[in-house]
C-alpha cells in the first residue's frame, strides 16, 4: 500500500497545485481518470483537475459516486467471511501435517539456512 506521505489535509481543501488554478478539463478527460482518481493514483495536477471538474459538473459526480460505492462494498462487506477460529486452527493442523509429509518425502531442507 502506498503511504500517504506528507501530512496534507484531505484533497478537497488543499489549495490548487503549483502554478495556479488547475486548468478546466472536459467530462471525457475526467471520466477517463475515474478509477485512477478514486484509487489515489493520480499525481497532483491531474488529481486537482478532476476535483475541480467534479465541483463544476452536474453529470460526472454520479458516476464517481457509484464507483466509489461499489469499491466500498468490495472493501468493507463483500469479502467472503474469513475462516472462523476453529476452522483456521483445523486448517493450520492440516497444513502442518502436509508440510511434514512433504519434508519427510525429501523436500529441500527447510531450516538451517
Amino acid at each position: 500500500m502506498s503511504p500517504s506521505g506528507s501530512s496534507t489535509p484531505p484533497p478537497s481543501v488543499v489549495p490548487p497545485a503549483v502554478g495556479g488554478d488547475p486548468s478546466p478539463i472536459d467530462c471525457e478527460t475526467a471520466v477517463r481518470r475515474l478509477w485512477d482518481f478514486l484509487d489515489g493514483e493520480l499525481p497532483g495536477r491531474p488529481h486537482a483537475e478532476v476535483e475541480a471538474h467534479l465541483r463544476a459538473c452536474d453529470r460526472c459526480p454520479p458516476h464517481f459516486h457509484f464507483s466509489a460505492r461499489v469499491q466500498r462494498a468490495l472493501r468493507d462487506g463483500s469479502a467472503p467471511p474469513p475462516p472462523r477460529a476453529e476452522e483456521e486452527a483445523a486448517l493450520r493442523r492440516r497444513v502442518r501435517a502436509a508440510l511434514a509429509t512433504l519434508a519427510a518425502a525429501g523436500a529441500p531442507p527447510d531450516d538451517g539456512r
Binding site: L42, H47, H63, G77, P80, V95, D111
Partner: protein, 249 residues
Amino acid sequence: MDRTPDSRPVDAPEVAHAPSADAPSADAPTAFERLMLPHLGDVARFARALARDPGAADDLVQETYLQALRGWHTFRPDADPRRWLFTICRNAFLRGARRELRYVAAPDDDPELEALAAAREHGAALRDGTARQLDHLDLAPAVARALAALPAHYRVAVVLVDVEGCDYAEAAAQLGTAVGTVRSRLFRGRRLLQQALYAHARDLGVVRDGGAGVARPDDAPAPGAARREGPPVEALPPPRGASPLRPQP
C-alpha cells in the same frame, strides 16, 4: 529449535501433546513454519476471496504452503514472507483456474476506455431507473456474488486492489506484470462488476419506464436533475493514499 534428521512430527496432531521443557518436541515448528505459518490467516482470507468456495480455498492454502516449502531455498532472507506467500497463492490459483478461465485478452493500450464505458453504462442505468433500484440495496452481497463470477484474471486484480487494498505498484508486483496490465484487468473487472449489479437490479425489480414498458430516450432527466442522484462532491471518500502534492512517477 532445530529439527534433527531423526525427528518426525507425531502422527496425530489433534492429540494433546504437552512438550517437555527439556526435550525438543517432535511437534516443534521448523524455521520455515515459524516464518510462514503466522501468515496463514491472511493467506486463508486471500484464498477465500480468490476461490469460489471455502473448500477450494482451504485446498489452495495447503497448495500454497507446499509450493512455498518446495521453493523455500529461493526465498531471500530480506524478502517479505507475506507478499511471497500471496504471490505463490495467486500463481497456484491461476494454475488451478486455467480450465475455467474465460479471459479474453483486453487491449492494454487504453484501459481508460473501460472507465468511459462504465460511465456510459451508469448513465443508461440512471436513465432507465436501474440505478434507483441499486440506491435502496445493500450492495455487499450482490457485489460478492458478482466478484465470484468474474473471470479469474479480472477477479485477482479486483481482489488485490479493492479487497486487499494494494496500490497499482503492489498489485503489479503480486501479479508479476506491469502497472498497465493491472489497470487494464482492474478496470475491466470493475466494469464487469457494475454490469452485473445492473443485471441484478433489473432482475429484482420493475424498471420504471413511465408505464410504457420500454425506457424511452426522452425520459432522460434534465441536466440539472442528475445532481439529485448523488451526494455532494465533498462526500466522496478521500482517495486512498492520495496526496495532491505527490511527485510525478
